[in-house]
């Protein structure tokens, strides 16, 4: 993650307070405050979870006064959705009032209010060290009620002008265009160990087909984060099965805590939440450590003494090259939406795709190859065999079948589906060896049929298989 220029590195709470002051004077300084909400920010490392919570809450509530940038919305809404701390909930509710009201925030706020009532306490943001009390402070549920009232007031006061839908960033979904996706080459060789103890590489499991990767750890105490994540991954499995694409999408849960989360613990945690491991579905830890993977995914996690302190909710949809295509960050994610994003990444025959193979098949189709065609052409020209078309027809035929085979091979590798290529290879051998070499007439016909069948299967087979 970017953390600002060296002279503006925020490393201590005092730096953070100074930055808040700067932002009061110059709104453009709010961007650095938004960065502080990222759990992986250096200022949060080796800090107690309670201290991280306090620091983030203090920054977040400042947006109530400074104005809430769109980029901070996923953090604020994510906090309301998943926090079980009065401080975090109060700060997020206050921050929301720094932006534009939207009735779409109501349901999130109402659920947060229920949690706040169970965990309520007085909180104070009068100063960083302030401890809330009835004399100086607010209770979280009251802060949330204030924000709900603010939304109601806005919708009532100017119903025609209120309220624009929340900005796109609020959803916490980041989509990355194919050309902008970072290469996964750096982590293709990263070591993983699954719930059965099997060792494998990132590339073996997560390159070659679209995949879904979610982060969790077994010692997470927040039921709305890791435990729910695993249960929702089980739901993702079920949805993939229902769509008939379970064999084409890998689903992985990766732990933030590889030192503690042994295969036995991973197995038990997944089983208790309905996630069913298999060849394509694994619960994993990085070995020997998770430094590379953490960096690649820019994981939103802070650590204290090597253990996880705080983390965000995060799930990634990777394309077939293992590159991050869609990131669900901060907010609770919908299993159906995740499955949709993954299925969109499955190979589809595009216009022009397989054109080379189709053209060569077409060209091949024009050459006489079936016994009746030979009879027809032979009778027309009076000579049986390829010499009908002159001496160039053999090399041309050989070149076409080789071109066809090469195209089919490339496509088979991409799809990791080799049946069509097998047909093409068989047909190629039949034509080249049997037909052109041994001059067996039926071999050319049969070979052409096999090649044509293979090409058609390669070009249109996936669509037929995955259209359900």
């Amino acid at each position: 993650m970017t953390i600002g220029s060296p002279e503006r590195r925020l490393e201590t709470p005092a730096d953070v307070l100074l930055q808040i002051q700067r932002a009061r004077e110059d709104r453009s300084e709010r961007a650095a405050l938004v960065e502080l909400l990222h759990d992986a920010h250096p200022v949060h490392q080796d800090r107690s979870a309670a201290d991280v919570l306090r620091l983030r809450a203090f920054v977040m509530q400042a947006f109530g006064e400074l104005g809430l940038p769109d980029s901070a919305l996923p953090y604020v809404l994510g906090e309301l959705e998943s926090s079980r701390h009065a401080e975090g909930l109060a700060a997020a509710a206050r921050a929301l009032r720094g932006g534009e009201p939207s009735p779409e925030y109501r349901s999130v706020l109402e659920r947060a209010a229920e949690v706040a009532r169970e965990r309520d306490e007085y909180v104070s943001f009068a100063s960083y060290e302030a401890v809330g009390s009835s004399r100086e402070g607010v209770i979280a549920s009251a802060e949330i009620e204030t924000t709900l009232a603010w939304i109601s007031e806005a919708t009532r006061a100017e119903p025609s002008r209120c309220c624009a839908p929340p900005p796109r960033e609020a959803a916490g979904i980041r989509r990355i265009e194919a050309r902008a996706r970072a290469s996964a080459e750096t982590i293709a060789g990263s070591g993983l160990q699954d719930q059965s103890g099997a060792l494998l590489k990132f590339g073996e499991l997560l390159i070659g087909q679209p995949s879904i990767v979610a982060f969790f750890y077994t010692r997470c105490e927040n039921p709305t984060k890791c435990s729910l994540t695993m249960a929702k991954l089980a739901r993702v499995q079920a949805l993939l099965e229902r769509r008939g694409i379970a064999a084409n999408v890998a689903v992985c849960a990766l732990t933030y805590d590889p030192g503690y989360d042994t295969p036995a613990r991973l197995r038990a945690y997944a089983a208790a939440r309905g996630f069913k491991p298999s060849e394509k579905y694994r619960v994993l830890r990085a070995v020997p450590n998770d430094a590379e993977l953490s960096a690649y995914f820019d994981c939103g996690v802070s650590r204290v003494g090597g253990a996880v302190s705080r983390h965000r909710i995060e799930l990634f949809v990777l394309d077939s090259q293992g590159r991050i295509a869609v990131a669900f960050e901060q907010r609770a994610w919908d299993p159906a939406r995740v499955v949709l994003e993954a299925s969109n990444l499955l190979e589809r025959p595009r216009p022009g795709h397989g054109l080379g193979a189709a053209l060569s098949a077409l060209a091949l189709a024009l050459l006489p190859k079936c016994p009746l065609c030979w009879v027809g052409y032979a009778s027309a020209f009076g000579i049986a065999g390829l010499e009908t078309f002159g001496p160039w027809s053999r090399p041309l035929l050989a070149a076409l079948v080789i071109l066809s085979a090469g195209t089919a091979w490339r496509r088979a590798r991409r799809l990791r589906w080799y049946l069509p290529f097998a047909w093409v290879a068989l047909g190629t051998l039949s034509i080249v060896v049997g037909g052109l070499g041994l001059r067996l007439e039926p071999a050319i016909s049969l070979g052409a049929v096999a090649i044509f069948a293979g090409v058609v299967l390669s070009a249109w087979g996936p669509r037929l298989l995955w259209s359900r």
């Binding site: 107690s48 309670a50 306090r54 009532r117 007085y122 009390s133 010692r219 503690y260 204290v304 253990a307």
Partner: protein, 323 residues
Amino acid sequence: MLIQQYRNKVTGQVAKARKRADAAIRRFRSAKLSAKARVRALADAGQLREERDLDQAEQIAADREQPAELRAALIGQLAPRSARRAKTLKFLIERLGDEGEPAPVRAAAVSALKSAAFQAQGLANQRAAYIEALRSAADSDDRTLRERALGVLAREKDAPTLRRIEQSLRGQSDALVSPEKALQLLSYDPKRNVGDLLRDIVRNPPSDGARHQALRNLASDSSSKSLFTRLVRDKKEEREARLIAISALHTIDPDGIEELASEIASDQHEDEEIRGACLVAVATADPANAHPELREVATKLAGKASSRAARAAAKLYLDTPSK
């Protein structure tokens, strides 16, 4: 004895107890009795059930003229009522937070409210006031009240409280409780950055109890694996520390503990209880792989060990099915 006879016996006992309790309640209701007598009567009465008795209990508990001992006993009676009656809940929280109330009354309120917090409704809508009252009680000069309040706050992972406790252990503020107690309270929040503090206490402990608690607190820290391995192997180390270390390694190194524990369990020159604990570690690390060669070791220990704990541990190992 036949079932019916047994049933009759128990029914008779219950009826006698009921009679005694009713008599005790009648004594409690009598305002003529001394406070001490009424407190004794309450102890015999069990839990007050009738609303009129609970009303009277609340009235007396609110009366500052009444002896603190009686008021404290009556506050204890109000716990179930506070779970269903917001007014009683509020009353208890106010007693807890009132610095002018005697310590026994406030301490009784802590206990009664702890019980109420477990009810389904919990502290609906009054939690903020409850936490504030607890924080106030945590500043009391009375040790019992202070420890009770701090205990509840620590279990609630109250950040300001845990910060104070940590600061007191670091010598940055006055001690609120003994170091051992402070460490025990800190253990409720395993995500505190206190690894350095704990290791320092292990090296330079103010007391044996504090050292043991510091080791227990480190038991969830994967980076302490080498510390615990060293402790387990060191025969000169005190037994309690080694036992804690074996337990810790079972948590943070379940794959590695088997080999180490097998080695120590087989060592006939090793402390019996340590050997027993190692047998249990092997048996529970992966029961399906319980080492058959250790069965002989366990058999001898189960029969001949002078320590009861060692015999029990060996028996547990023998009872674990092996592959």
